[in-house]
């Protein structure tokens, strides 16, 4: 299981990386915005994407849309972990095809639950 973590704050990337390690996911990579993440996703074999929304350069919502428009990445599971908490934003992310949405500040348990739920649903659909 290879996971890409995208956030412009290195602090948050490190927190998520540590949490994933505790959950047993040790194969992670990092990017600091959508425009650096997209080529990594296109060229690498990632199984899961965790992305922030508010980033300079390419935002998380644009990255999400770019993934869904890509033949290779259209089914990639994507979890948004963001401080953006407006109703319209969450609806926009859902419509763009996000698989899960966690608002910051979040707990370790909340992140774990969302990740497990995403994989349960994927398993159920297969």
């Amino acid at each position: 299981m290879k996971i890409l973590i995208v956030d412009d704050f290195s602090t948050m990337r490190r927190i998520i990386k540590n949490l994933l390690r505790d959950l047993g996911f040790t194969n992670t990579a990092e990017a600091d915005d959508g425009s650096s993440a997209l080529p990594m996703l296109e060229n690498g074999q990632f199984d899961f994407l965790i992305t922030d929304w508010n980033m300079p350069g390419m935002t998380g919502i644009d990255l999400l849309k770019a993934c869904r428009a890509s033949e290779k990445l259209k089914t990639l599971p994507i979890l948004m972990v963001t401080a953006e908490a407006k109703r319209d934003q969450i609806i926009a992310a859902a419509q763009a095809g996000v698989n899960g949405y966690v608002v910051k500040p979040f707990t370790a348990a909340a992140l774990q639950e969302k990740i497990e739920k995403i994989f349960e649903r994927i398993d159920a659909n297969q």
Binding site: A85, I91, A94
Partner: protein, 287 residues
């Protein structure tokens, strides 16, 4: 002493200028209204006569009056701005000696100070996480080792032929202590995770500070534009609006544009108050 006097004078000056500004603004609005009213009758008459040349002429004159009011307002704002900037520099003492001047101009540099706060909090968060990263494996080793010893100890305890009350009590205490290392180890590990999660403050506060930095830059740029605009007042008549986005697209962009952490959740009904609300919304969307 003289500083106090300067301040008092500056304040009195400000108050006088504020009053003057309000008066001038009222005068500006009034002159345009007057010009409009004065032309109302002749414009109506021209319309009734069907004299389109005269109608166009009157409308042109009304426009001209409006533009003049606008030029006047821009000029007034610019003067007020110049005064405010000049006063600001005077108040923080930018006219005094070079050393003080250097320090104060640094003080005035809000953006670099805010960037410094982001860098410092990032550094502090990383140091905290370094310690957590060091402590976690140390703790894990302790727990693993005590688990291994506990298993051996249980066997040893069962096989022990020492039936003295003192020895038995001591063996039991060791057994319980080894067990406690495991259970407390878990408790400590979950607290280390809490410490790690708490470092998320750096991201959230950093996002807010970044927005303030953007705001300061925007205000700065707007001020520069305003001053340029006033110095070349003819441009005012042809105010250009961005022609790219249609209104609907702009609204949509604004509605879902990234805003960073919500610092006034109670006041904004559009904002989810926590993960539970977000989950409710998502499940209503079929998630």
């Amino acid at each position: 002493m003289s500083d106090k006097n300067d301040n008092a004078l500056a304040k009195a000056g400000n108050a006088a200028r504020d009053a003057e500004t309000a008066e001038l603004a009222a005068a500006g609005a009034k002159s345009f209204t007057d010009a409009l009213l004065a032309r109302k009758q002749v414009l109506l008459e021209a319309l009734q006569r069907g004299d389109m040349g005269a109608v166009a002429d009157h409308i042109h004159q009304i426009n001209h009056a409006r533009d003049e009011t606008l030029y006047f307002e821009v000029g007034r704002l610019t003067r007020a701005l110049h005064n405010a900037l000049r006063d600001f520099h005077l108040e923080i003492g930018l006219h005094s000696n070079a050393e003080v001047k250097h320090e104060l101009s640094e003080m005035a540099d809000a953006r670099s100070r805010l960037s410094y706060v982001i860098a410092m909090t990032e550094d502090a968060a990383n140091q905290t996480m370094d310690r957590v990263d060091e402590a976690a494996p140390m703790l894990q080793k302790l727990v693993d080792e005590s688990e291994a010893i506990r298993k051996d100890w249980q066997v040893f305890q069962a096989q022990s032929s020492d039936s003295g009350a003192q020895s038995k009590a001591l063996m039991e205490r060791v057994q319980q202590f080894l067990q406690r290392i495991s259970s407390d180890g878990q408790g400590i590990h979950s607290r280390l995770t809490d410490i790690l999660m708490a470092q998320g403050y750096q991201d959230l506060s950093g996002q807010v500070i970044k927005r303030v930095i953007e705001l300061v830059s925007d205000v700065e740029q707007s001020l520069v534009r305003l001053v340029k605009l006033a110095s070349n007042v003819e441009e005012v008549a042809g105010i250009k609006r961005p022609a790219n986005d249609t209104r609907a697209e702009r609204d949509e962009k604004q509605r879902i544009q990234a805003e960073g952490p919500q610092i006034n959740q109670q006041k904004n009904q559009d904002v989810m108050s926590g993960q539970d609300d977000v989950d409710d919304l998502l499940s209503s969307l079929g998630f």
